[in-house]
Amino acid sequence: MIHRHSGALHLAILRAAVFGIWFGILFDFDTQTYSQLPPELIDLHVLSGVIRALATPALLTVVKAAALVGCLLCVLGVRPFPAVAGPTSLLVFTLDVAMKSVGSYANHAQTLVLLLVLLLPFFPAADALSVHRRPAPERSPWLYRVPLVVAATIVVASYSFIGARRLFVGGVSVYADGSMVRWVVARTLEEGAHHSSVGLGVLDHPWLAVPLVLGMLVTTVVEILSPLALVKPRFRWVWLAVIAGFHLSTLFLMDIFFWENLVLLAVLFTPLADRLPWRTRTPKTWLVASSP
């Protein structure tokens, strides 16, 4: 099982990554423009009433500033971690819901990293990579391993659920009825966040539809099998290659980029900790590559 021997350093890297991602996302959030939108536009979530109440220029700016400071403190590993991360995670949740509540659907790109920001405050994620020089108290190793295993499980389950739904809802026809080309063309023409127009090439070169569909089929199979990446080290690398390739291909072909997920994949499923400079000053705990 992945993270069977992980420790404080690995959880700390996840902490820094998750709160760092949120710092980047929230930094761009234009609270002034948001608060000028008509209140009726804010209605996609059960918390819409709370969001509407918060959506005044001054209040929303204060909430955003508090969330950014909180994220920064969490990245730095300030303790007591639960006291900092708990309120910060609630602020992050509120602001992310605010951003989602004016759309016609919830963008899934931030879902995983939101679930993890809600999980981390319950665990001692600032026991390593912290600005504090005093050592953390002795704790059960499970306090570091369980959140990592749970985080990895949530990540693989999300991919597996998508693949399973495509298999059972889409069946065979989803690969054979031209849907893939329509999705690629529509998502390219529609305004996305990354301005890629490569996808329209499938109209100039219709034969590209074949590798597109085959790629989707392979991706679906690998998505379904995602939970095996928790326990099969060799499959894990295949899985990483396919999923990372899938995310990069959607960037160029559909102007959709789940960069947050790529960061989580690197942190949770690669021996990243062994490659970092501070690795030499901490006990070796990452044994993913040799774990059965």
């Binding site: 099982m1 761009d28 959030f29 234009d30 423009t33 939108l37 008509p38 009726e40 536009l41 996609l44 979530h45 059960v46 951003m99 989602k100 004016v102 759309g103 016609s104 659907y105 919830a106 963008n107 899934h108 790109a109 879902t111 939101l114 999980l119 319950f122 059960s140 190793p141 306090l143 369980v146 749970v150 499980t153 949530i154 693989v156 389950a157 597996s160 659920f161 399973a164 739904r165 059972f168 889409g170 069946g171 065979v172 989803v174 009825d177 849907s179 329509r182 999705w183 529509a186 998502r187 023409l189 529609e190 305004e191 996305g192 966040a193 329209l200 109209l203 100039d204 379904i224 095996l228």
Partner: protein, 203 residues
């Protein structure tokens, strides 16, 4: 393991036959496919967690943390299984690009000035959401309601576009287009029609 694999095979066979034979109604299919998803994914996760020392893990983290972990896992699974929609975000179902589409539609907003010069309103720059498509889709929904005579939708659409266009500048009106991709060609990748037009200068 054999039982689980047999279940997967049977459920997939039912799904394949269902493409050709009307085995059940829409509600029946909905719950059959969701049970199949849960059986497939749940089985794989169970295989992955088979050798985990669950008792040691639970004892090692304590009751409160265990409760938080169970809640998070259960809510994530329930979100997928029940499919409550965006209102329950982040506990929502993951169903992107899972069903075939004979056509895909999306919205565009164009600003038109007095000289009939047109420019597309680019929503990515507004930074009020992480996904401009969700916002353009929402404006299209409002435009469809406005076209049906909903006064509130007309006002919401006008005010939203004014804000997102940073005051709209010299634009006198905005047009919301519904674009459809069904049989795309290089010459005509999509077809777009105006759904609603709103005057930006009116109070």
């Amino acid at each position: 393991m054999r039982t689980w694999l047999l279940g997967v095979a049977v459920l997939f066979a039912v799904r394949l036959v269902g493409d050709f034979v009307p085995l059940m109604d829409a509600t029946g299919w909905l719950w059959t496919t969701r049970m199949a998803e849960l059986w497939l994914v749940g089985g794989l996760v169970a295989v992955a967690w088979r050798d985990m020392p669950l008792a040691d893990m639970a004892a090692g983290i304590g009751r409160m943390r265990l409760g938080a972990v169970i809640f998070l896992l259960a809510a994530t699974t329930a979100g997928q299984f029940v499919g409550p929609g965006s209102s329950a975000y982040p506990f929502v179902h993951w169903d992107m690009y899972t069903a075939g589409a004979s056509q895909v539609s999306y919205g565009e907003v164009w600003l038109v000035d007095e000289a009939e010069e047109r420019r597309r309103l680019l929503l990515a720059g507004s930074d009020v959401t992480t996904e401009p498509r969700a916002l353009s889709g929402r404006l299209l929904q409002e435009a469809e309601a406005a076209a049906a005579g909903d006064d509130t939708a007309i006002r919401v659409l006008r005010e939203s576009i004014r804000v997102l266009a940073d005051g709209a500048g010299s634009a006198g009106r905005a047009e919301v287009l519904r674009c459809v991709v069904d049989e795309p060609t290089a010459a005509q990748p999509s077809r777009c029609d105006v759904v609603a037009t709103v005057a930006l200068g009116e109070p």
